[in-house]
Symmetry: D4
Subunit: 149 residues, 8 copies
Amino acid sequence: MKLNVYLSGEIHTDWRVQIIQGCQDADLNIEFSSAITDHEESDSAGDMLGDGQLDEKQGFWRDHKSAKVNAIRTKTLIAACDIAIIRFGDKYKQWNAAFDAGYCAALNKPYITLHSSDIIHPLKEVDAAAHAWATSVDQVVASLKYLCK
Amino acid sequence: MKLNVYLSGEIHTDWRVQIIQGCQDADLNIEFSSAITDHEESDSAGDMLGDGQLDEKQGFWRDHKSAKVNAIRTKTLIAACDIAIIRFGDKYKQWNAAFDAGYCAALNKPYITLHSSDIIHPLKEVDAAAHAWATSVDQVVASLKYLCK
Amino acid sequence: MKLNVYLSGEIHTDWRVQIIQGCQDADLNIEFSSAITDHEESDSAGDMLGDGQLDEKQGFWRDHKSAKVNAIRTKTLIAACDIAIIRFGDKYKQWNAAFDAGYCAALNKPYITLHSSDIIHPLKEVDAAAHAWATSVDQVVASLKYLCK
Amino acid sequence: MKLNVYLSGEIHTDWRVQIIQGCQDADLNIEFSSAITDHEESDSAGDMLGDGQLDEKQGFWRDHKSAKVNAIRTKTLIAACDIAIIRFGDKYKQWNAAFDAGYCAALNKPYITLHSSDIIHPLKEVDAAAHAWATSVDQVVASLKYLCK
Amino acid sequence: MKLNVYLSGEIHTDWRVQIIQGCQDADLNIEFSSAITDHEESDSAGDMLGDGQLDEKQGFWRDHKSAKVNAIRTKTLIAACDIAIIRFGDKYKQWNAAFDAGYCAALNKPYITLHSSDIIHPLKEVDAAAHAWATSVDQVVASLKYLCK
Amino acid sequence: MKLNVYLSGEIHTDWRVQIIQGCQDADLNIEFSSAITDHEESDSAGDMLGDGQLDEKQGFWRDHKSAKVNAIRTKTLIAACDIAIIRFGDKYKQWNAAFDAGYCAALNKPYITLHSSDIIHPLKEVDAAAHAWATSVDQVVASLKYLCK
Amino acid sequence: MKLNVYLSGEIHTDWRVQIIQGCQDADLNIEFSSAITDHEESDSAGDMLGDGQLDEKQGFWRDHKSAKVNAIRTKTLIAACDIAIIRFGDKYKQWNAAFDAGYCAALNKPYITLHSSDIIHPLKEVDAAAHAWATSVDQVVASLKYLCK
Amino acid sequence: MKLNVYLSGEIHTDWRVQIIQGCQDADLNIEFSSAITDHEESDSAGDMLGDGQLDEKQGFWRDHKSAKVNAIRTKTLIAACDIAIIRFGDKYKQWNAAFDAGYCAALNKPYITLHSSDIIHPLKEVDAAAHAWATSVDQVVASLKYLCK
């Protein structure tokens, strides 16, 4: 089975690279997509827009513009994927990852969460709607390997 | 206009009570709904279920059972509401609130966020899909007042 | 919270009556609906239809006519309900109950299953999509009591 | 016409192989998909997940994990197919097959049932929503042959 | 069970009146709706619209205007109903009735057809998607009586 | 038939009042809803929101905030209505009215346009998806009268 | 623009062949699909199904089986097409064509009708929801030529 | 990422050509689609249709026919695209562009607006639902470049 997998979540570690590598090693027929993982690039995605009248280089409206440009990517990629892998690390708020989870749940789009045991409790609602909870990249790769048969 | 409003978010302060009170004082025609706000009650919502074979009093599966029982409430109430107010406080992960936001966004169901300025940046995706950002209960009440005309 | 609950499943025991009674005793604001529970009445629901040209008193087409008349009820009641309770007993095939579960799952309509431990394994797919698994009528009533708060 | 066909149902006989072979012999332009047919493999699909805290090697939660991993496959394949063939044999509960039928019905996705005459009565609801009832693999192949014209 | 029933089809006999009467006699809790049954009134529903520049008193555009005004009724009433009864008589083209049937089928909205045996063959597609075929008003009333339990 | 009608369009003349009056005179069972018609009130609907960091009293972001608050009203009211009446006058851009028309069209929600002959050509796309074109308030009232039968 | 076009309607003349030929001559990038046009083949599509218990070689149930097998084709092809061309000739009831029109309308799927002026009045509802009315194959080909630009 | 982009809006300047050129220069993997940009061709798209009985060479019905033929294009292309770019110039009513925006908003299909600062106020509703506002072709190309990563 060929799969289209969207990788959502924290962009501060290389967990995406690890999963893609693991799936390549297992010779899986998967097409991966992701949000932009360069933090600065992602935050400045909307800087060039508008008419320069308002000083939006920082603050609410600057973030608003970039978040909406990035939302075009997210919406499109989630619509196109078969499954999403949603990663929660131990740092940062990661509300955008939880937001993606709720978005998938409403569309009946399956997702697998990737996080450690110590944040089980605050992630219980996100995990309740998930189709699997993995604690390591290996578990994710094993799941994708099974799904590709 | 009569409105059905769902109040989502942290259950550690009395922000819900304040909004309901403010709307009552303004004589607004609003029916409010909410998740269960008693923390212990909410966490133990699934304890009575099952066959007792597995020791689920704590850990992943105990949270899983309660989160899914609570999800029945959330799904039903979000489906029934016209707008959701989603509150983010300064403590706690609050991933369930961000999850509710994504869920609403996918269903094209409007929501208003309520949070302070210092978490603008991590909430940018949630705010990008919101229809308004309020920093105080008064701003929420003022919005609802306008919407009820 | 007021709930509309659809009771699906085997019509050979009085489990429905027990749940309705338990909820009445707890003074819950619930409106219950159900398939027709009289076996003979349900099976003959389509007998009066058609032009009598074909002898359909038994066999595939007789069941086909009654099943489609009953499907009008089921579709309408599932559409109107907030939650379904789906009961699996120890006898009979009960494929219509599993069918109702799949139907609810596709529509993102939450349901609670009611069955004993000895059929956990063959019901794993039905339970995977459920929001709770109850082993007794008391557990169902307790869940509904919580949901009505 | 090119068709994408999902084969759902009991995994204890080789009915899938027979249908695929029959369609190949007839030179039909069909892409087949299926749930995992190795019983042990399917049941252990979720074993590698989680944090090992809970002893889930058997019982409700072990089945729960595997069923949800398999549900990712099922949801994806049903979404991608044009028609599903749903097989009911004379053994086993096969509630997952009836569940798939209900799921397809809710999505207005056509399916053909494959079963013998002696289980007509308990399958009447599943057959009521089906687009055809076949009693043999030959009838299924003949239907697919017609549909591919 | 309370039902909302839409009566679609030929407006040249009093079959609607008969069904409504029969259901009243049986004391059923049904709210009926229908297209406008006065032929002249229905055909002239759009006559008052427009700017009088084009002479639309007859011909394609006159019918176009009235058909679209009537379509507002039909769309609204079909959306609101639980079941539609679609009648085919022995005269007239009745393409609007078949159109209503297809419209209901796409929305998974159940309908019952009412027609005699001699037009079984040309109505086979309409009947294939129907939930029941009645040959007389009495059969329709009996079905509604059963559905209201 | 009881109708819920949304009145969309220019807020610079009293066309809404005329329609409501005409329908009252005809004793029609209609519930009307509308955007806020006080221009200043509508434009300042978002002024109280935010943290005051950015000077949004005018310009793009000030309009953005108010337009999104008003969009909560519009979305909710369009969802609740059976039909929308969309008015185009001879002044002003009225892009929000055309926006409402496209929104309704995508949801298969019927609407009637109200405008004079001299803007037929630029409104051709909006009229193509409409269910009727009226040139005067009287024509709208006559249509609603017919629809309420 | 590449188009996928479904040809629905009477199967007693060669109108399909004419349209396909005309589009080939104009070198258009169109993929055509259609119901089975061999009358006998289409009517016997379900004959091989079932268990032979009931004598279904003619009458309601024989037509029911074939119509449902053909419905699998129709549903799949309509779902896949961009536009449908729906032809009404001067003979036969053609209720299946009107049914297809209603089905497309509910799904907001555009269609073009092809028929002569003398049946304008009975087709007014079908034409009201259509995106164009053509009176000849040439007009259809011209429309498709324009749409392919 | 490969994108399918629909270019909607005024057809009196060459803004489309500029965007396509800019994206080609940046070597982006984008497939562009558009409404027909030849004004005369677009307006006469329906002229060949019908039976010549009514003199429709100008006026409401002539525009009605062409607008509906063009709507087949628009519906199909919007359905197929990932994003729409909606341009508003300083001349003309451009109600069809605002209509397209509303249509996209209802389908949760993201769009970017392209217009100058002096029409910010009348476009506030269209911009409120947009995912970005660009003031120049360069800003659009920069956005698409970012989205294609």
